[in-house]
Amino acid sequence: MSQSLKFSTLALTLAVVFVLELSLGSVMIPLKTVISILAGGQDSGESWRQIILLFRLPRAVTAILAGAALGVAGLEMQTLFRNPLVEPYILGVSSGASLGVALVVMVTDGLGWNLLLERAGIMGSTALVVAATLGSLAVLSVVLSFARKVESNITLLIVGLMFGYIASSLVSIMMQFSVEHQMQRFITWTFGSFGSVTWQQMEIFAPTLAVGILLAWILAKPLNAFLLGDGYARSMGVNVRRVRFWIIASSALLAGTVTAYCGPIAFLGIAVPHLCRLLLKTSDHRTLVPAVVLMGATLALFADRVAMVPGSQIALPLNAVTSLIGAPVVVAVILKRRHVMEAGA
């Protein structure tokens, strides 16, 4: 199969899953109606229009953007650290976000500040987004300042991991002193969901992710050089520290934004790059970045569709679904092609 045929197949699959996402759910809407509503038709019932345009469409768009973003962020990290098991959150971005969310959910609530915040109009999901963004920005700024000074990637990896431990221990201390409904709210956030981004929030969510993905696309050439290791990259004229700074910035922007709006979505960031490498049989980032965007979007939509259990009122935790589908896929893929493990990226 030629590369362009593979890309067409990926794009077609994405389109099919997208329409299914809008059609299936607790209320089944016929495919024809879905397409006519998307095309701007007015002839179908108002309630179906409402369901699609106000609930399912933003949800689908969120899933597409988040899946693409996590895939790209994971690809960048796997190449930078030349390690196939690295995920987008490796540098502690999501730990920072969860610390921010935990602070809002447990501490402000516990101190009765939530009334203040509510009056200022930033309670509810927006407060969580702001808290998560601030949390990941805090971790990001520390890691980036290290990235400028430190020579070794491993040092950077350890710094990121240690920040993760510090953040999660602070979170568990807060949980110790919180009450049940706060804990419930925090845990629900950690389950992950594509359903909480409103059209209004989309105005920030979408452009931010677009910038991050564009940055990764511009970085495709130096990312290819990094495949050979820092030494070779430097010998080809790559300014290693500067490029590494931008790779981390792009990846953290993507992972941090997704975590802020959707919670820490597991598995997609690790698995999507591997699936794309196997499908396209290349490590060339100029091919992989667009492929990862398509594949990530498709898998995220698919996982969300499964989590919502079509035809019922049940909603499973999104992270449970992504992991349940994803982990066996990764294991199968790796057993079949063992050198994917040594592929480094």
């Binding site: 050439k221 050979l228 040594e342």
Partner: protein
């Protein structure tokens, strides 16, 4: 007259440290690398070969002295400009995964391509030339991770060649290879230097291969002055013995190889020539005897032909026929044993 590309002038290399005096690894290094030359850098472990190569590639600043590229200090080149003139092959294995060989070689065009890394016609031609010159044409479409160590290293050399460098520097590229592949690689590098008119400098532990293939040798040893020259000149000057001086190893000027310095057990006279004579001599030397000409010592060993078969006579106090060198060594040992 050869054109000099890379020169080092009374160079000191090592590590500068913030609070202490700089740690000097080697000093007073002066040598010139010319176009079309294949040079091997030899030296025992810890002599500073890697430090020297890092200094020559501009990664590490010299402690004193200078490294000149076309007469200009190497530190003044912007990284991208230097990359158009100098390329490297490193010891470390590369994990480029599913990257097809041809695309990996094309990465050598990095400093020449635009932001997206698109290859122009000139770039594609350079990649094809590099693939042909290194003989990896049949591998071009295969994923890098499926190649053997020897093939991978050739691909890395093709990548370095695609950079169209005036100088190619290799840090122990033969480290993971078996003997036939090492020989092949050294011959390839020698040929590339001559055909592509670029200078090739490679650090290695392969002394006898380097003696046979390199146009010049650079010898770097801790505590000894840096020497460089044509391999044969260096052998005749006895430079190897001083560079690699060790109680356990001796450099044999006749064979151009090192041998374990064994305790001398006495002189044995050998009569016999040809292949059988050579291997008899080797066996006796290995066992610690000094081999001298016929009639110059006792005991003696004579190589005789019994039809197509080889047989030996060992003489001294007694005269014993032997059917194998194993038996010869045993008999000679008895001759000496009887004297003590």
């Amino acid at each position: 007259m050869k054109t000099a590309v890379l020169e080092m002038l009374s160079l000191s290399i090592g590590y500068s440290r913030r609070s202490h005096a700089a740690h000097v690894v080697a000093e007073q290094l002066t040598a010139t690398l010319c176009e079309g030359e294949f040079v091997c850098l030899l030296g025992p472990n810890g002599a500073g070969k890697s430090t020297l190569l890092q200094t020559l590639t501009g990664i590490r600043a010299p402690l004193s002295g200078s490294v000149l590229f076309d007469g200009v200090s190497i530190g003044t080149f912007p990284p991208r400009e230097l990359a158009k003139r100098l390329s490297v092959v490193l010891t470390q294995r590369v994990a480029a995964g599913m990257m097809p060989v041809e695309k990996l070689v094309a990465l050598g065009r990095y400093p020449f391509t635009d932001w997206a890394g698109r290859l122009s016609k000139k770039d594609t031609e350079a990649v094809q030339r590099a693939i042909e010159a290194t003989g990896i044409g049949p591998l071009a479409g295969r994923p890098f991770c499926e190649l053997s160590d020897g093939e991978q290293q050739k691909v890395m050399i093709a990548r370095a060649l695609a950079q169209e460098p005036r100088v190619m520097i290799l840090d122990e590229p033969t480290a993971f290879l078996d003997l036939p592949h090492r020989v092949e690689l050294l011959h390839l590098l020698g040929r590339l230097a001559h055909d592509c008119a670029c200078a090739v400098l490679m650090s290695t532990h392969e002394l006898d291969l380097a003696l046979r293939c390199a146009d010049r040798l650079w010898l770097l040893a801790p505590g000894a002055p840096f020497v460089e020259g044509t391999p044969e000149d260096l052998v005749l000057q006895g430079a190897f013995s001083s560079t690699f001086a060790s109680k356990l190893v001796q450099f044999d000027q006749q064979t151009g190889a090192f041998r374990a310095a064994t305790q001398q057990r006495g002189a044995v006279a050998l009569q016999g020539d040809g292949v059988a004579g050579m291997w008899t001599s080797r066996a006796l030397e290995r066992a610690g005897y000094q081999v001298v000409g016929a009639g110059e010592a006792e005991p003696w060993v004579e190589v005789a032909m019994d039809g197509a078969d080889i047989c030996w006579w060992v003489g001294g106090k007694t005269s014993t026929p032997c059917a194998s060198l194993d038996a010869v060594l045993e008999s000679v040992s008895q001759e000496f044993g009887g004297r003590e």
